[in-house]
């Protein structure tokens, strides 16, 4: 594993200090309805941050602000300031396509393209022109599958459809696809909710390995998962960021009563 990570030159260039993402006073509206209220949070580099909260609390909405997936919803409006490495991602000059290459996303349901395993991973680099030759692309695909811990399982059937894999393998394929565009940040929207515990454990182990090189944000409904995988945890409720802090502190001694009631299962 280690040597694979060192190989990737693009990652070494990333400066190490300071938060990767800083959000200030982010408000999101769906038409007339406000979904997020003044969310301000820093996301640490090379660590896992988890967003927890009851359904409809805005955690996914906020996650989707970070790679501007909300843009695809016509009635959605975002105000405030989200910076990725100091760059305002809602700047009118910013190319959203480029942003999404830098901020990869893994979705709730494994959603590989109904194409071959190879094509699934190669698609991103290809449309962004990240590789110059077929050989380079082959290597990139292999290294991404390797990093996603999938290479061993699929190396002899790269041309078989990605949809033929098991759920857990599909999700790791989606992670391989996400890291193929060499992102800095990986957003995960309940990545394990459709997986069995063993597949979940594999994905969690993968997150642990990936955090050395990527900033990971995960939305999860499983308190235990947030406690297991993340270094920092943010609790959202009714569109507001209620509390953010070290995962250890949030799960042993939350400062806010609402956080405590939520994570101990006392929500009315």
């Amino acid at each position: 594993m280690e040597h694979q990570i060192v190989q990737d030159a693009s990652i070494a260039e990333v400066p190490v200090a300071g938060p990767t993402i800083t959000a200030r006073d982010v408000n999101v509206f769906y038409g007339e309805k406000q979904a997020l209220f003044d969310v301000s949070v820093d996301i640490n580099r090379n660590s896992v941050t988890s967003f927890i909260g009851p359904s409809g609390c805005g955690k996914s909405t906020f996650l989707r602000c970070i790679n501007r997936m909300n843009d695809t919803i016509p009635i959605c409006r975002v105000t405030g300031d989200i910076r990725l490495d100091g760059e305002n991602i809602y700047d009118t000059d910013l190319d959203v396509v480029e942003l999404r290459a830098r901020v990869g996303m893994v979705f709730q349901k494994p959603n590989p393209f109904p194409k071959s395993i190879y094509e699934n991973v190669a698609y991103g680099p290809r449309i962004h022109g990240l590789t110059r030759s077929k050989k380079e692309l082959d290597e990139l695909v292999e290294s991404c599958l390797e990093k996603a811990g999938l290479l061993k399982e699929v190396h002899d059937r790269l041309d078989e459809p990605g949809t033929g894999l098991s759920g857990g393998q599909q999700q790791r394929l989606c992670i391989a696809r996400a890291i193929a565009t060499r992102p800095e940040v990986i957003l995960m929207d309940e990545p394990c909710s459709a997986l069995d515990p063993i597949a979940t454990a594999k994905v969690e182990e993968l997150m642990d390995e990936l955090k050395a090189n990527y900033t990971i944000i995960i939305v999860t409904h499983s308190m235990q998962q947030a406690a297991r995988v993340s270094q920092r945890t943010a609790f959202f409720h009714l569109g507001k960021l209620v509390e953010v802090g070290d995962t250890r502190q949030i799960f042993t001694n939350p400062r806010n009563k609402r956080t405590q009631d939520y994570i101990t299962g006392r929500f009315g």
């Binding site: 942003l99 999404r100 996303m105 959603n111 590989p112 991103g124 449309i127 949809t163």
Partner: protein
């Protein structure tokens, strides 16, 4: 947990074994199943009746009675000047040569009276003239030789051979007199007169004689129209559907457009014919009866079907695929062309073929734009007058001769065959490219 422990909740245990209730339910289920089977049976019976009637009437249209006659291509008649001038060939009396050959085949005396000549001539189709001429034009070197040629029998002879003429009818009310019957029997016994595969059905144009009329003009016309529809309706329909589904903002106007497209699909086809007449012929000045105009009209008619089918197909592509593509940084256009459209392809194909099938079977709008013409010459371009398969059926169906009745059914079989093949293609494409999620 025992039932006592959850007092307040009434359990069904006591009613599980009520035989009367069970019996009633089983009976009603069985009854419902029976209704379904009966309904299906009736539908199948009608369908079977339809097919039986069409096929039993029409299969004989694929056979045609022909004489195999040794024709002496008399140079004195065909080419007296010996210039091998093709335009001169048309002036010769080929029917006489055919009649002579026929009389020889029956072993009639050289000397014949007028009635006998007329009887003989009636056995031959009027089209033999053209048949022999075409042979000579195709190969002038045959002039002066005696060549065997298959010549069409007259419609009445064909009907007699196919058993459509009752020999017991008194001679004066019968289409063929006794002498002619004798001759035909002799010719048939000598294998000079045979029933052969009716290739003319597919190669002849319109004719007043059933034996020399065919579907060629209709087939070519229908082909040109299908081509026009496929080339215009598919790209326009798919593009419109893709725009409406993926790009159009949800607004009052897109709602209006959507409602109108759905309504257009239900507009009677004759209205499209009127529209075509007004716009394409009267306003744009396109030629009447031309298959291009028919194609344009059918395009208009097919568009809503294709748009609706394509939208449904695009909508059926799971949004997770779109998210996945957008998530790795594909643009909207890339997402559409790399993922959504390829995945919607089977649905689009099915919709398109259904639309084409609908267009292929359409008659009413074509009548409005004058495609109901008597077209003898086979068109080579889409701007020449042509007819269409269903129109041809309609025209034949209005003729009284026994031969046309048979051809009507035959043409219907051809049309149904095309529809069947296209539907099968749609099913095949759907099966082949359909993806399981």
């Amino acid at each position: 947990m025992t039932i006592e422990a959850t007092s307040g909740i009434e359990h069904h245990a006591s009613r599980l074994n009520d035989p009367a209730k069970l019996k009633t339910r089983y009976a009603s289920e069985a009854r419902f199943r029976a209704y379904g089977i009966i309904a299906l049976g009736i539908a199948l019976a009608f369908l079977a009746g339809l097919f039986f009637s069409i096929i039993s009437n029409g299969w004989s249209a694929f056979l045609q009675s022909e004489y195999r006659l040794d024709i002496y291509l008399d140079p004195a008649e065909i080419d007296p000047e010996g210039k091998r001038d093709v335009t001169r060939f048309g002036l010769a009396d080929y029917t006489k040569m055919a009649r002579a050959a026929l009389s020889k085949a029956i072993d009639l005396p050289e000397k014949q009276d007028r009635a006998m000549k007329r009887d003989l001539k009636e056995l031959l189709s009027r089209a033999v003239d053209v048949q022999i001429r075409d042979t000579v034009v195709a190969d002038p070197s045959l002039i002066g030789k005696t060549v065997p040629i298959w010549l069409l029998a007259a419609g009445d002879v064909d009907s007699l051979l196919k058993g459509a003429i009752d020999r017991n009818v008194p001679e004066e009310r019968r289409q063929l007199n006794n002498r002619q019957l004798q001759w035909v029997d002799k010719l048939a016994a000598d294998s000079v007169l045979q029933k052969r595969f009716n290739s003319g059905l597919f190669t002849f144009g319109a004719s007043s004689q059933p034996e020399s009329s065919g579907l060629a003009v209709a087939l070519i016309g229908s082909f040109f129209m299908m081509l026009t529809v496929a080339l215009l309706a598919v790209p326009i329909g798919v593009a419109a559907a893709a725009y409406l589904e993926e790009f159009a903002p949800k607004s009052f106007w897109t709602d209006v457009i959507e409602v109108n497209i759905n309504n257009l699909a239900a507009v009677p086809s004759i209205v499209f014919g009127l529209l075509g007449l007004a716009v394409f012929i009267n306003f744009a000045g396109l030629p009447r009866s031309a298959s291009i105009v028919g194609g344009l009209v059918l395009t208009l008619m097919t568009l809503p079907t294709i748009i609706i089918a394509t939208r449904a197909a695009i909508r059926a592509v799971p949004p997770s695929i779109r998210e996945a593509a957008l998530g790795v940084g594909a643009s909207k256009i890339q997402t559409l062309f790399h993922h959504t459209l390829p995945l919607a392809f089977p649905g689009i194909m099915t919709g398109t073929i259904v639309g084409l099938v609908q267009a292929l079977g359409e008659t009413a709008p074509l009548l409005m734009i004058g495609m109901v013409a008597f077209v003898v010459d086979i068109p080579t371009t889409a701007t020449e007058p042509a007819t269409a398969l269903p129109v041809q059926i309609y025209m034949w169906a209005t003729s009284a001769e026994r031969g046309f009745v048979e051809r009507t059914a035959g043409a219907t079989i051809v049309l149904l065959g095309f529809l069947f093949v296209m539907n099968a293609a749609a099913v095949y494409l759907r099966r082949k490219f359909e993806r399981k999620w």
